[in-house]
């Protein structure tokens, strides 16, 4: 198994700690004038997203995590698992709710998603930064209000609820920023 020495540590490096894959967020080299050097790092657990601090003796080695990022096409949800496909190899992979997480609110069939693979299996899924979705339910706005002042909740075809301007109506397509979960604009069919 590949390993990294502490002098290879940098942000984004994927390492194994206590049996879980982690990504290094921040690495700080600390050394007293005459004595033992340490690497104090902040690491993010790629399974839970939790960020913790760890201190390593400089010169120690840590096992590398078999983690890499790729892009997969979302195919369908079978009620329990989300099915994805590598559009180059046509290989299909499934991800559970834990891996899909928040992305489940935004993705629909055929979207291309960023997927982090750990030992070849999806570990986390990221929705595209912007998605275009249809509104399935919202209160009818006041007639003639085109200012967009204020807003109202709207339910989208994926089930997500976002705040939209008053003039947006059921059946319309809107563009949403999935990172903030906020309305961007009305959209046309692509």
């Amino acid at each position: 198994m590949a390993s990294y020495k502490t002098n290879e540590f940098k942000g984004g490096l994927k390492i194994m700690l206590d049996g879980d894959p982690y990504s290094i967020v921040e690495n700080e080299f600390v050394k007293p004038g005459k004595g033992q050097a340490f690497n104090r790092v902040r690491v993010k657990n790629l399974k839970t997203g939790r960020v913790v601090e760890r201190t390593f003796k400089s010169g120690d080695s840590v096992e590398a995590a078999d983690v890499h990022d790729t892009e997969l096409q979302y195919l369908y949800n079978d009620g329990e698992l989300w099915h994805f496909m590598d559009t180059d190899t046509f290989e299909q992979l499934t991800a559970d709710a834990n891996a899909v997480g928040e992305a489940a609110k935004w993705i629909k069939e055929q979207d291309i998603c960023g997927v982090t693979l750990y030992n070849g299996q999806p570990l986390s899924v990221e929705a595209p930064n912007f998605v275009v979705l249809a509104i399935t339910d919202t209160d009818p706005g006041l007639k003639g209000d085109t200012s967009g002042g204020g807003g109202k909740p709207a339910t989208l075809e994926t089930g997500a609820v976002v705040n939209v301007p008053l003039f947006v109506q059921i059946g319309e397509l809107i563009k949403v920023d999935t990172r903030s979960g906020s309305y961007v604009s009305r959209a046309k069919e692509e």
Partner: protein, 304 residues
């Protein structure tokens, strides 16, 4: 800053010297990694080491009777990179024959005040033992490695439950992670009288416990300088070199040739002296309020 420092030493009759950056010998200190030249073999420079500090050649000058000397030079340390570390950096190193450690600490304070143009900076002295006893309720002379580990776990230093360290390793961990950040708040804090196991090239003195006559200077949580009442006993120096080399063998680190020229100089007679090395890049960081050493370098090593 350089001009102010040179003027101060000119005023005080301390001679500026230059010594070779390249040497046939290297520091044996297991905590320091020397860079080595890879020039083709018969070349006169082949296999030479870049200095990690100018200490050894400057002591040879002292033994030759040069009197008080200082030097501003580049030094090189492999595997050191971070917010406060760069593999190539600038040291101001000076030696004062006839000075006690206390007298040298006061002069270091003068140099830092002058370089930073902060004449109002006050000085504070704290013994290494008192520092640990006061802040962590542990006596670094008495505590076992297990007791020090328990302190690290209690603080807590994150991840310390996974660390395998010897006694000095735990002390270094606690010093650098728990104590250093609070040292030198708007004042010059000198930590002095270190455990004998961390003497490096300092003399030992019998106090209530045996101590190494060594100090470190901190300002705003940053270590700036390290000074010694210099060891002048050639036999003791050789014993420490050999102990370092044994540690290197144990840890699988490169074995380096000890500086026999220094040993010869010590045997010939080194005047009773105190000496100190001060990191000028870090001093400049404090002068301009830089958070990263790269901010005070023309071109950091990745773009050198």
């Amino acid at each position: 800053m350089f001009a102010a420092i040179r003027a101060l030493f000119a005023d005080r009759g301390v001679l500026e010297v230059e010594t070779p950056v390249l040497s046939r010998h290297a520091t044996t200190d297991p905590a320091l990694a020397s860079l080595r030249l890879a020039t083709a073999d018969p070349a006169p420079t082949s296999g030479l080491y870049l200095q990690t500090s100018p200490e050894f050649p400057m002591k040879r000058l002292l033994a030759a009777g040069c009197g008080p000397i200082y030097q501003i030079c580049k030094v090189f340390r492999d595997d050191e990179r971070g917010r406060r570390h760069h593999p190539e950096f600038t040291l101001l190193e000076w030696y004062r024959p006839g000075f006690t450690l206390q007298a040298l600490m006061l002069e270091v304070a003068d140099v830092v005040r002058t370089a930073l143009q902060r004449p109002e900076l006050e000085v504070e002295f704290v013994r290494y033992r008192d520092l640990f006893r006061g802040a962590l309720q542990v006596d670094p002379w008495e505590a076992t490695p297990e007791a020090l580990r328990a302190v690290a776990l209690a603080v807590p230093v994150p991840g310390s439950e996974h660390l395998q360290l010897d006694r000095d390793g735990w002390l270094d961990l606690l010093m650098s992670q728990c104590l250093e950040p609070g040292l030198g708040r708007e004042r010059l804090t000198f930590v002095h009288d270190y455990p004998p196991s961390q003497a490096a090239l300092a003399r030992l003195r019998q106090d209530e416990v045996p101590v190494a006559e060594r100090f470190e200077l901190y300002l705003q949580g940053m270590e700036l300088a390290n000074g010694f009442h210099e060891l002048s006993d050639a036999a003791e120096q050789r014993r420490r070199f050999e102990q370092d080399l044994a540690t290197r063998r144990e840890r699988g680190q490169p074995e380096v040739p000890m500086d026999v020229e220094l040993l010869a100089a010590l045997a010939a007679g080194l005047p009773d002296s105190a000496g100190v090395a001060l990191g000028l890049d870090r001093l400049l960081m404090l002068a301009v309020g830089a958070g990263h050493i790269d901010e005070v370098m023309a071109f950091p090593v990745e773009r050198a």
